[in-house]
């Protein structure tokens, strides 16, 4: 028995971390947020060179065929470095959906370009979790109509779309009748947007296996967002501890004040077990799909709650400078906020957890 990361997994995380430390991080995130780029092409190129987009694609289709845990470790690192790159949808949810529900032809056509990063894929699934007034997708004959909000990895070449019956489709971003509008959120490192479908041609994924693929990839997406949150929160805690050791007030470093120490201790005490939780949730996704759903819900919700505490406390430990743009602490703060609400906020996801255990009438 070994509950932990293999050497390869540690190496993977270190190499992605090393690359982002050199080329990504706050500076690049700022530039992306301020500069109106649609995609951070340089970063994406580097990420492709590391083979990241092919992590979950099988070898037959040009990928590495790794388990979700490897992707989650990369997601954690992406969060740690507030990386502006399409990941949750393009690297995780869409390749998984195509692998699980696509036809052989679809797999052969789409997976290789997803695996080498030449094709970017967004995901329009929000309405399967909770539809806001006016948002709804319907399939009629061979076209989609309706509206999808908060489409993930929005600056994409193709979209994975779920209709109201949870059936899945692939749509070209340049398809006729498709209107796209970017939605601006607090987190400027993660493009999301709205898609309006007016008789838009789409290609259904046949889903011959008959499993609820939509649920499977939402599980995966939730684990990935939780991993991203873990990385972001860990970074905020690290920054708070480091800053407290150099900032002096009243003739002492503030790290020597018990109030500051206990805030940091509480952050660490809450955050540290989340690491094991994220590992397990990602591992069990592949090892036991049935158990996975509950673990994915709890991991998403619990990480969101813990990270909320961490993001507030870490900002407070910094004092005024934490509120300013100077150290850019708010980039992590906002990334944590984004992850909290997307693919189901904490109490929505907890209610799903209760339903899975038949605790809801």
């Amino acid at each position: 028995m070994e509950f932990g990361l293999s050497e390869e997994q540690q190496l993977l995380q270190r190499s992605v971390g090393g690359y982002l430390d050199d080329n990504g991080g706050l500076k690049r995130a700022r530039q992306f947020a301020d500069g109106g780029e649609l995609r951070a092409d340089d970063l994406w190129k580097g990420i492709c060179e590391l083979g990241i987009p092919g992590l979950l694609v099988d070898e037959e289709h040009g990928g590495m065929g790794m388990p979700l845990l490897d992707a989650a470790l990369v997601a954690e690192t992406m969060g740690y470095y507030v990386t502006p790159a399409p990941f949750v949808s393009s690297v995780v949810m869409v390749p998984l959906a195509i692998a699980l529900a696509g036809s052989d032809a679809q797999r052969s056509r789409l997976l290789p370009s997803l695996a080498d990063g030449s094709l970017i894929a967004g995901a329009a699934l929000t309405e399967t979790i909770g539809a806001r007034e006016g948002a709804h997708i319907s399939w009629d004959a061979s076209v989609l109509n309706g509206k999808a909000l908060f489409v993930l990895d929005f600056e994409a070449d193709i979209y994975l779309v779920a209709d109201a019956e949870r059936a899945l489709y692939i749509v070209e971003s340049k398809a006729e009748g498709l209107q796209r509008q970017r939605l601006i959120t607090v987190d400027k490192t993660r493009p999301v947007g709205e898609l309006v479908f007016n008789n838009v041609k789409a290609e259904p994924l046949p889903n011959d296996a008959g499993i609820d693929v939509c649920a499977r990839i939402v599980d995966a997406g939730r684990i990935i967002l939780a991993a991203d949150t873990l990385g972001a929160a860990q970074n905020m805690l690290n920054q708070a501890v480091a800053y407290s050791k150099i900032r002096e007030q009243f003739g002492r470093v503030i790290a020597s004040f018990q109030a500051v120490k206990h805030m940091c201790a509480d952050m660490a005490a809450n955050l540290e077990p989340c690491r094991a939780m994220m590992w397990y949730a990602a591992h069990i996704f592949d090892a036991d799909p049935d158990e996975s759903r509950l673990t994915a819900c709890h991991t998403k919700a619990h990480l969101a709650e813990v990270a909320k505490l961490v993001s507030k406390s870490a900002t407070e430990v910094h004092g005024g400078i934490g509120f300013t743009d100077e150290l850019g602490l708010h980039y992590w703060f906002k990334r944590i906020e984004f992850n909290r609400q997307l693919l189901g906020g904490p109490s929505t996801v907890r209610e799903e957890a209760a339903k899975l255990q038949e605790l809801v009438k």
């Binding site: 806001r132 007034e133 009243f250 002492r252 004040f257 109030a259 507030k312 906020e337 997307l342 109490s347």
Partner: protein, 393 residues
């Protein structure tokens, strides 16, 4: 317990209402930038005893006796009519009373009247990058050179620095004195050569605070309030005042009512958000907390009138009020789900993105005006008589 205002005051309330009805058309609109209209409105209010009513007539004020109830009635009636009850800002709220109390005749004559008429606007220069919680360790230096102070250093968190005509600020003038006794309170023009104002970017993205840099800024020697080295005591009186104004429960109540409306309108999967029992319970918790702070405020108002000691009930306002408001905004974001994190502009933004803005802004206020950790020190030491931390060896 008598929560009525009494007959005399009810009559006064009618007078105020009459004034408002007659003159509402003269008031500047919401967010109006017509400075002259704003100033004309301010003058009209002063003439009628509705603004700066206790400042003596000789300095341009109303010259009336302090009357907390009348002040409250004025505030309530103007709020009801959604009209500004005069100009606010540090000059009128904080500086004018200090000038009256501690200023020389010359300073009073020169500064009070234009300040309260809104012709001279003020910003406040206290915090520095290395003097936040430990404000008394500030290091911006002023040295006397003939008839002028020469100032070098830097201030931060200066709201309104770009739009203000003048600044009142704390500078170190007695470097050899103990830190609390080496600080003086100076007044200076924002047009002074050597002053550089740079906007401070914060997490909200909405400009609000500034940094102000001083390079050999020269200020006439007599633009000092109080004696050399008395600045800390003067500033502290202002700070206490400022803290009380953060986390106003009436303002939280307005936000709560807005949130209730929102939760009634918004739906997820066809179900109104207010019908979600989990959010509804959290909403009710917030409503209870606001209620407690509002009644606490009434108690404080009443105690001020009767001169009772309610020090502890006063000290807790900033800590409780800012945390409460932050929680309220946070609940709104959770209840809105993905829509809660929309910000800036766009079609699905609710209430102009104010939930997200205030959520961040109030985290700033939990930190600002004396962090809530410092508030807890104050409450435990001054409110509960617990000892200060022993000095480090």
């Amino acid at each position: 317990m008598d929560l009525s205002f009494g007959e005399e005051y009810e009559e006064y309330r009618q007078t105020v209402r009459g004034f408002i009805e007659e003159n509402a058309h003269l008031a500047p609109g919401r967010g109006q930038v017509n400075a002259e209209k704003t100033r004309a409105w301010q003058r009209l209010l002063i003439e009628n005893g509705y603004a700066v009513r206790t400042i003596p007539k000789e300095y341009g004020g109303g010259g009336l006796e302090p009357d907390i109830l009348k002040s409250r009635i004025i505030a309530e009636e103007f709020a009801r009519a959604q009209l500004p009850a005069g100009m606010g800002g540090g000059g009128i709220s904080f500086l004018a009373p200090v000038l009256l109390d501690k200023g020389t005749d010359e300073l009073k004559k020169k500064f009070i009247a234009p300040t309260i008429r809104g012709e001279m606007t003020w910003c406040q220069g206290y915090s520095e990058p290395n003097a936040g919680s430990d404000l008394a360790s500030l290091s911006t230096r002023a040295v006397l050179d003939g008839d002028e102070w020469v100032i070098n250093g830097q201030k931060i968190w200066t709201s309104g620095a770009k739009s203000s005509d003048w600044m009142f600020c704390l500078v170190r003038t007695e470097p050899d004195a103990p830190k609390h006794r080496g600080i003086s309170f100076l007044l200076l023009s924002m047009d002074s050569p050597g002053l550089d104002v740079r906007p401070l970017e914060t997490m909200t993205g909405v400009p609000f605070f500034n940094e102000v840099f001083f390079t050999d800024v020269r200020v006439p020697k007599d633009q000092i309030i109080g004696q050399r080295g008395e600045g800390w005591a003067i500033a502290n009186a202002i700070l206490r005042h400022e803290r009380d104004s953060l986390g106003d429960p009436d303002d939280s109540l307005r936000r709560l009512n807005l949130l209730i409306e929102l939760m009634k309108q918004e739906t997820v999967d066809g179900q109104r958000i207010i019908d979600n029992a989990v959010y509804r319970d959290q909403l009710m918790q917030i409503q209870g907390r606001i209620m407690a702070l509002r009644f606490n405020d009434l108690r404080l108002l009443s105690a001020k009138m009767t001169g009772q000691d309610v020090a502890l009930a006063t000290m807790i306002v900033k800590l409780q009020g800012t945390e409460l408001r932050h929680s309220l905004e946070s609940l709104a974001i959770d209840a809105l789900g993905e829509h809660g994190i929309l910000y800036g502009e766009g079609p699905y933004l609710r209430n102009h993105g104010s939930w997200q803005h205030d959520y961040m802004q109030f985290l700033g206020l939990i930190i600002g005006g004396g962090t809530n950790q410092i508030q807890r020190n104050i409450i435990s030491e001054r409110g509960l008589g617990m000892p200060r931390e022993p000095k480090a060896k």
